[in-house]
Symmetry: C2
Subunit: 235 residues, 2 copies
């Protein structure tokens, strides 16, 4: 599945199935194919650092990627997790404004930023798609602002689990089985909490009978309604 010698074949597949190319315009497909290439990364490997020149726009094909920023004194804030079918590295000027790091072993597709720009001039349809994706990143960032500014630890954790479930309900059933590839530390850095608070809150949810934790990276949601109440979802 991650064999590097499949690169040529896989790259063709990407160009056809990419988020940037979901309609049936042959010219657009060819154009995207020309500027795309595959990249494989190991868990915890850094894809690019905040401040690196933003040469590429990426799309996750398989795996999970996290985006983060740091304060001068070393506190880390994760601005988002990126799942298959979602792009990242968009909306950068000369350099990336955040660090991107693989949570799990991942398969990525990357598009040359410059040549993307050229392609957009030639194919306005591509521009619309690009803009739609930047917009959805913006909407996600604003949701995150709401989450961080105005919610308790319990609400944050509950919201986080619900977001995971949207991407992740393997069996789509009640109870719901969630795969949680990121560490408690990562979750804390995402929600503006410490590792300990994340752990304590999960323990509390467990004791309340809302979730079960068979092991570190799996969570079963046994009472979805209760979890949704706790998340205090907004409009």
């Amino acid at each position: 599945m991650f064999a590097h010698n499949q690169l040529a074949t896989a790259s063709t597949e990407i160009a056809v199935n990419s988020v940037f190319c979901q309609d049936n315009q042959v010219a657009l497909k060819n154009q995207l194919f020309e500027i795309s290439s595959l990249q494989y990364v190991q868990a915890k490997e850094t894809i690019f650092w905040e401040g690196d020149p933003s040469d590429y726009v990426y799309e996750v094909l398989e795996g999970v990627v996290l985006l983060s920023k740091m304060t001068l004194d070393g506190r880390r804030q994760i601005t988002g997790f990126v799942y298959p079918g979602q792009p990242f590295g968009l909306g950068a000027g000369e350099q990336h404004t955040y660090t991107a790091e693989a949570v799990t072993r991942s398969r990525l597709c990357r598009y040359s930023h410059n040549r993307m720009d050229q392609s957009i001039t030639i194919y306005p349809a591509l521009g619309h798609r690009y803009m739609a994706w930047t917009s959805s990143e913006l909407a996600a960032a604003q949701d995150q602002i709401l989450l961080l500014g105005r919610r308790t630890a319990m609400e944050k954790i509950a919201s986080f689990l619900l977001r995971l479930s949207e991407r992740n309900d393997e069996y789509g059933e009640d109870p719901m089985y969630l795969f949680v590839p990121m560490t408690r530390h990562d979750i804390g850095d995402y929600l503006g909490l410490t590792t300990e608070t994340v752990s304590r809150t999960l323990t509390l949810l467990d004791k309340m009978g809302v979730i079960e934790r068979p092991n570190q990276s799996n969570i079963i949601v046994s009472d979805l309604d209760h979890l949704m109440d706790l998340a205090e979802n907004d409009t």
Copy 2:
């Protein structure tokens, strides 16, 4: 200055000086002029609500506008303040994802969203500009995420004052005179703090000799270096 009978004249001026039209392409100017119109709003007047159909993209010509979201139980989070020369209402799909409200009496220019799309297809240069603006909104949102998730009340307030100063140093000198048109409550809803904490922190800064508060809506920064230290600015 806010006389409505100046609409026609002012509108021409906008089309020429708008952020969406800073280069010298006559065709682009004409195109933008056709789809633009002026709008005047009073302080505290709502421009659009979260969930309203997103018919227009806006630009602030004069005044200050705030963008906010609400949780179900009524807690408000301000996602950003918008100053002259900056656009808002971008990046929306069918409906706006936040509420926009005037902080002070403001003069706005609005562009039909649909016709903007058409114009972009015709003038790719406009598309690039539009994308650049959406990108800068995204970058700002991610900065805000870092601010909310990983900073103390003092760091938040100090950062806020520094951001204000970027827009606002009337005399560009040390000491710096800041006009603060929003209420303490607004500042709190922006930084994820209560009114009381905002007030207390400002009082503390005053006692430390970093700022002075001649009246409610003006702040003098007497020790900029110290303020910058307190803000713990990131990379």
